[in-house]
Amino acid sequence: MTVALDSNEAPAWRTRARQMLAPEFVTPAILLAPSVLLLLVVIAYPMVQGFFFSFTDGSLMKGGDVVGFENYTKLLTSPAFWHSLRFSAIFAACNIAGCYLLGLGLALLLQMDMPGRGVFRVLLLLPWIVPSLVSIVSWRWMVNDEKALFNQVITLFGGDPIYFLSNSNWAVTIVILIKIWRSFPFMMLSLLAALQSIDRSLYEAAAIDGATKWQSFWNVTLPQIKNISIVLCLLMTIWSVNDFDTPWLLAQGGPANATENLVVLAYRYTFARNDVGMGAATSFVTLFVLMALVFFLLRLQRRS
């Protein structure tokens, strides 16, 4: 104590407090205030409250009693949960693979010199920008019944019409196709920007060393876009797991719950079965699954 008083330096807390009041700190704090307030109301408060709800048995009409881990045990032992977890995983994996291949392929094409390139770039973004409802209406028409486009093509080649929306496997396939269609433009656009930022001299050096086009793609392009690719896959994972619109609007998670992912399951528990506790527990498990995936992908990125 006496030592501290003897020295000329102010105690650490006072220095900190002074820093807090300095204009370099106060001005950004004021500028951030509205956003932080919004985040507190819409994210932080519901998060804490939802965590509490996941341990109760309330409904949308009245609050419930604390039931401990009952919701979680019920959820983790229900086949519906494991089914939707599996579907979420397949959905995300197919979406990432499909979007990456399609996005990278089209980005490479768009990089080439051709008349009308700018127009093509804009037109390829349309599936991403139209409202989810509109894209589902347009796709549903194409797979609706035996007279719809897909079946007309199939019968043209002599096949039998397929009832896409009443067959589980086909419904899963269609939901995945629609999701890829809706989200590849973002991948394409981001990869295009990454490709354009690669230093041209790297390709010249590769050409001097006698690399073929394929070799310079494999040894120059891919390593250069590796980091942004991992970030993009991270975003795609998050967006696919959290997607409600595509499975719900196509067939309300059907047929026979085939396209029910974790979010649709949580929605059903809460708003169809009026079980707030189970809905909140499902949402939290979804968050944990996501956090585990994100953690894994970030480790992967750091290692590279």
Binding site: P23, E24, F25, T27, L32, P34, S35, V36, L38, L39, V41, V42, I43, Y45, P46, M47, Q49, G50, L106, M112, D113, M114, G116, R117, F120, V122, L123, L124, L125, L126, P127, I129, V130, P131, L133, V134, S135, V137, W139, W141, M142, K147, F186, S190, L192, A193, A194, I228, V231, L235, I238, N242, F244, D245, V263, T270, A280, F284, L287, L290
Partner: protein
């Protein structure tokens, strides 16, 4: 230029045209079908319709379509005002200052991107109900403002990064405060950037379905995506009006998008990568 490369370039254009048409086929079919009656759509065997009619569009006047449209506009404009105000202030702070608070806020924004919104909806539903916000634009406006926040803030920030600091420094020397300098010097220069950011926030909110589906449950309150989904269930056989409604819903999106498409790369990349 040799004939060979010329041929190759135009060959690529041809191939791209086919790809673009294939990719956009669902949207093209939707628009073509909206110009046919349901009977014609169901009987049709070719992609190009034999005759066109506006009957479906006229029929929409007998449906709540225009109520939905009005609600959509109220909700989207409200959410845009909210989120752009918050995001522009925060984007300016992120662009000009650097400290622990801002780093924490950046991380929070990234977390919002990955946050499963369903998690917030249940508690918010219970919070909003006694306040009378369910079936009112207020509830969705508040939630959209936050859903928009990361992207819109990153866009605003990358725009402010392009405005030279020297302009404010001069004002600071003349005795202006930071916030005053921002309002009097930087904001008036940010017109085009703010327009792009606003259109983005508007598009997000106008297209959104999930949140609106939870909070807006009466015909009087529904926005277009939710309302049309009801169409889909009620008139499941009436493809003509469904497609006309979907086409009309999509139009403002397409038109606004053309104005801002060149800003997309900026916001998307800056946001996704800077985190």
């Amino acid at each position: 230029m040799t004939n060979d490369t010329l041929l190759k370039r135009w060959g690529l254009t041809g191939a791209m045209t086919v790809i673009v048409l294939l990719v956009n086929l669902p949207i093209i079919l939707l628009m073509l079908n909206s110009l046919q009656t349901t009977e014609q759509i169901l009987a049709s065997r070719s992609i190009i319709p034999a005759s066109f009619t506006l009957a479906n569009y006229e029929g929409l006047t007998n449906t709540p379509f225009f109520t939905y449209l009005r609600n959509s506009l109220i909700v989207s404009l409200g959410a845009t005002a909210f989120s752009v105000t918050a995001a522009v202030l925060a984007g300016y702070a992120l662009s000009r200052f650097r400290n622990g608070l801002l780093d924490a806020y950046s991380t929070a924004l990234f977390a919002v991107q990955m946050f499963p919104i369903i998690l917030a909806l249940i508690p918010l539903f219970l919070l909003f109900r006694p306040l009378g916000f369910i079936n009112s634009p207020v509830s969705v406006i508040i939630v959209y403002a936050v859903v928009n926040l990361p992207f819109v803030t990153w866009m605003a920030r990358s725009y402010f990064d392009t405005i030279p600091r020297e302009l404010e420094e001069a004002a600071l020397i003349d005795g202006c405060g930071h916030i005053e300098a921002f309002i009097r010097i930087v904001l008036p220069l940010s017109g085009p950037g703010l327009a792009a950011v606003s259109i983005f926030a508007f598009l997000f909110s106008y297209n959104e379905f999930f949140v609106a589906n939870v909070f807006l449950r009466t015909t009087e309150a529904m926005t277009l995506p939710v309302g049309i989904q009801m169409f889909m269930q009620q008139f499941s056989t009436d493809w003509g009006s469904l497609m006309a409604a979907a086409t009309l819903t999509m139009m403002p999106t397409l038109i606004l998008f053309l104005f801002v498409q060149k800003f997309i790369t900026h916001g998307a990349i800056a946001g996704g990568v800077k985190g």
